[in-house]
């Protein structure tokens, strides 16, 4: 009995840890999107702000990246789903011997590193372009075209896997029945096979879009004049990130939650409708007047969807009237006061130390110390200016601010360090 409850407890603990591992970074990221410091972080909490969202929507490069990503995404969806469906149909037409070989060949692009696909796409289409005697700015060397082609190379294989799974449950007798009843091959495909494949095609399309949207290593070789969102983000990180990135992350998390809830609500609604159809009498069915369940009735996903939607509307509404200026000003005032106090403290300590040194008169030379321990782990590479908000002690020293190394080699920083070490001893 006791063992059992211990077992249960450990399962719950495991689940908690697992979900914390999965969702923790997202939660931190989302909180950081609403925090006012200029470096994305969740603690210490300073002020609730929506300015990072407006910063995001004013960032031309990010917006352009999103636009390009969506364009590429749609292109990839159309191309990969079409190729995937063709590949899947082909697979069902082949004999068992050929099938294994064909399957390996068609799956291979998934196993090839994205970088290789990127480079080879670029080189291949460049050769074609030259063979056709076209200019360097022709359609074939267009960044959008190359990216769509490059990504579809392997995304089509994913689509094919999804479609094959559904196609395997397809009864080919259905196509034969359609033909037998006088349908042409095109009609049999459109009226019988395609409706059957619809759910799988939808899944494959979503999968293809997401895979395309998040792709970096293939795109990085092919984007040309059309940097996608991932490319823009990667380039931005080199110059330091702001919580605007967190805001973007938060929006994508929210969109995902919306899509998931919408999908779940839809599935549940279909189940309920099927149940209602089953319970309906024949007359009700033929008159089409059987009791349809309400959208929200016994459908938690729909309820959650509505709640999330309402919450979003409320937050957006608040954001348009809310102004964190007072809070930010307060925080800055508080920081200024803290800083002044530290400066006074430092000066007092320095005074004390000089007096000691005078008394002991050069008995020991100060040892070379390590870089300042109170610096961030990144050594300030991301944004030197963010350090001022993060670390008030280095903000005090004007020399430290100027150095790219977070004040590690500034003489005054050294002295400060020594002081603290000295006081520690």
């Amino acid at each position: 009995m006791k063992n059992l409850s211990l077992m249960r407890l450990s399962i719950w603990a495991y689940l908690a840890i697992f979900f914390a591992y999965l969702l923790g970074p997202l939660v931190i990221m989302s909180i950081a999107a609403f925090n006012s410091p200029e470096f994305p972080r969740a603690t210490p909490w300073e002020c609730l702000t929506f300015e990072w969202f407006s910063a995001l929507f004013q960032d031309e490069r990010i917006l352009n990246g999103i636009k390009n990503s969506i364009l590429v995404g749609f292109g990839t969806v159309v191309l990969s789903v079409a190729m995937g469906l063709a590949g899947a149909l082909m697979l069902t037409q082949l004999g068992p011997k050929l099938r294994a070989t064909y399957y390996t060949i068609i799956i291979a692009p998934i196993l090839v590193p994205g970088v290789v696909i990127g480079i080879s796409t670029l080189v291949f289409w460049d050769r074609i372009n030259r063979m056709l005697g076209l200019d360097a700015d022709s359609f074939l060397s267009n960044g959008l075209f190359l990216t769509v082609i490059g990504q579809s190379t392997f995304i089509a294989s994913y689509c094919m896997l999804v479609l094959v799974a559904r196609l395997q449950r397809y009864d080919t007798a259905l196509t034969e029945a359609a033909l037998d009843l006088g349908a042409t091959h095109a009609q049999a495909f459109r009226k019988v096979l395609l409706p059957f494949m619809k759910p799988a095609i939808a899944s494959a399309a979503v999968l293809a879009f997401l895979a395309s949207f998040e792709n970096y290593n293939t795109t990085t070789f092919t984007f040309g004049e059309y940097p996608t969102l991932t490319i823009e983000l990667a380039q931005k990180v080199r110059y330091g990130i702001t919580p605007a990135i967190s805001a973007l992350a938060f929006i994508s998390v929210l969109l995902t939650v919306f899509a998931a809830l919408f999908n779940e609500a839809n599935i549940r609604r279909k189940e309920l409708v099927a149940l209602a159809r089953k319970q309906a009498t024949v007359e009700e069915l033929s008159r089409g007047s059987f009791k349809m369940p309400g959208f929200l009735s016994s459908n938690w996903a729909a309820v959650a969807l509505v709640i999330v939607a309402c919450a979003t509307v409320v937050v957006v509404g608040t954001a348009t009237v809310y102004s964190p200026q007072q809070c930010i000003a307060d925080v800055q005032e508080q920081k200024r006061l803290e800083t002044e106090l530290r400066i006074q403290e430092l000066q007092r300590q320095r005074e004390l130390r000089r007096q000691q040194q005078e008394a002991e008169q050069g008995s020991t030379a100060p040892a070379q110390s390590k870089p300042a321990g109170n610096n961030s782990g990144f050594g300030g590479v991301f944004a030197p200016s963010t350090l001022s908000g993060e670390d008030s002690s280095s903000a005090v020293e004007p020399e430290a601010k100027a150095s790219g190394f977070g004040g590690a080699f500034a003489p005054s920083a050294l002295s400060g360090e020594e002081t603290s070490e000295g006081s520690g001893n």
Binding site: D171, A173, L174, E176, A177, A178, L179, D180, L181, G182, A183, T184, Q187, K191, V192, P195, F196, R277, K278, V282, E283, L285, S286, G288
Partner: protein, 370 residues
């Protein structure tokens, strides 16, 4: 003969690689007939059906429908409709859309289609069920929808591939009569595939018995049952007691067979084999369980068999007696239940007699394996 469209198979061969699925089939099916292909699974009967419906091109020979050679004409252009073994109703379409699919692909309006669907639903006794989805119907109802869907295409020939095999016994028997009635009403040619001899015998005007790609015999049910052409036909259609032996003497249409374990017995040579049997040939003779009658114990002669009763069972309409003759020769006898008293003879010897007309002899051949 009625005005329906006939079907002819002429020297039809169908091969898959080295495997011969159909060997030199020559069949003439009268217009308006209910014609069955009867045979065990894997005998090639479905292959023939697919060749008629156009899903398969014959390797040799030809299929004629209404006298027209169907070579190179696809299934969607042939005047045939096929009812699939698993019915193959379109799962995402409502019943009425299923039924009128053949009109939809020709571009008929929804209103027209709906009207026709309602007529057909009335005909198959499923009024007002048009808005259901196929999985919402019972097995027998789905069966009838499949028939309606095929009939909606107004085919000249309806092909049925074991459509009743998935149904339970009661429903199967009911559907037999229903199918037969529908066929009489619409007056078109039905070609029916089955491994169930009961279905074939009760419904068909004519039956072709198939074995391993070869058509053994074509004839009406009575001929096939009473006058089988081959040992296979005799053993596959209905129950039969087989006696192996050699021909001792042939006299016009009767043969004296020297059986291996039951002595010399007289039998009628089946009509397909008359003149083909001579003394010394290996032969088989068949006697139906119901063709036996009880005789005084110990009676001797060329139409008496004596054996020991091993088991008895009561089947309702008949008493079945299982017997073991000399050398382990097993026999089954069915005595119709006419209300007579029945005394158990288990373990006792019993003598049976038969009318020579009810015993058929033919050259030895392969038997149907159960």
């Amino acid at each position: 003969m009625s005005a329906g469209v006939g079907v002819d198979l002429e020297k039809l061969w169908i091969r898959f690689g080295d495997f011969v699925a159909v060997r030199d089939a020559n069949v003439h099916i009268n217009g308006g007939d209910f014609f069955s292909f009867l045979g065990p699974s894997g005998c090639g009967k479905t292959t023939i059906l697919r060749a008629v419906s156009g899903f398969l091109e014959p390797s040799e020979g030809q299929v004629l429908i209404g006298g027209n050679n169907m070579k190179g004409i696809g299934p969607n252009k042939r005047p045939t409709a096929l009812i699939f073994q698993n019915l193959a109703l379109f799962p995402l379409m409502k019943v009425w859309e299923n039924i009128t699919f053949s009109m939809e692909v020709k571009g008929a309006s929804a209103k027209e289609r709906r009207k026709r669907a309602d007529e057909l639903l009335d005909m198959i006794a499923l009024p007002d069920q048009g808005d259901k989805l196929p999985w919402e119907l019972s097995g027998g109802q789905r069966q009838r929808v499949a028939i309606a869907r095929a009939l909606c295409a107004e085919p000249d020939v309806l092909l049925l591939d074991e459509p009743l095999s998935a149904l339970d016994l009661k429903l199967r028997q009911h559907m037999r009569t229903e199918l037969r009635e529908i066929q009489k009403r619409v007056g078109i040619t039905f070609i029916y595939i089955t491994h169930d001899q009961g279905e074939a015998l009760t419904m068909s005007d004519n039956i072709a018995v198939m074995r391993a790609g070869v058509i053994d015999q074509i004839g009406d049910g009575k001929t096939i049952y009473n006058d089988p052409a081959t040992a296979f036909a005799a053993s596959f259609v209905g129950e039969n007691n087989v006696f192996r032996g050699t021909v001792k003497q042939v006299q016009s249409d009767t043969a004296l067979i020297s059986t291996n374990r039951s002595g010399d017995l007289l039998a009628r040579v089946s009509s397909a084999n008359q003149g083909k049997m001579k003394a010394g040939d290996d032969a088989m003779m068949f006697i139906r369980p119901e063709a036996f009658a009880l005789a005084p114990v110990g009676a001797q002669g060329d139409h008496f068999v004596t054996a020991t009763v091993t088991n008895e069972e009561f089947e309702g309409n008949a008493f079945n007696i299982f017997m073991e003759g000399e050398g382990g020769k097993e026999m089954k006898v069915s005595l119709p239940n006419l209300g007579q008293s029945f005394d158990s003879h288990k373990g006792q010897p019993m003598t049976l007699q038969y009318d020579v007309q009810n015993a058929v002899a033919m050259p030895a051949g392969d038997l149907a394996t159960e």
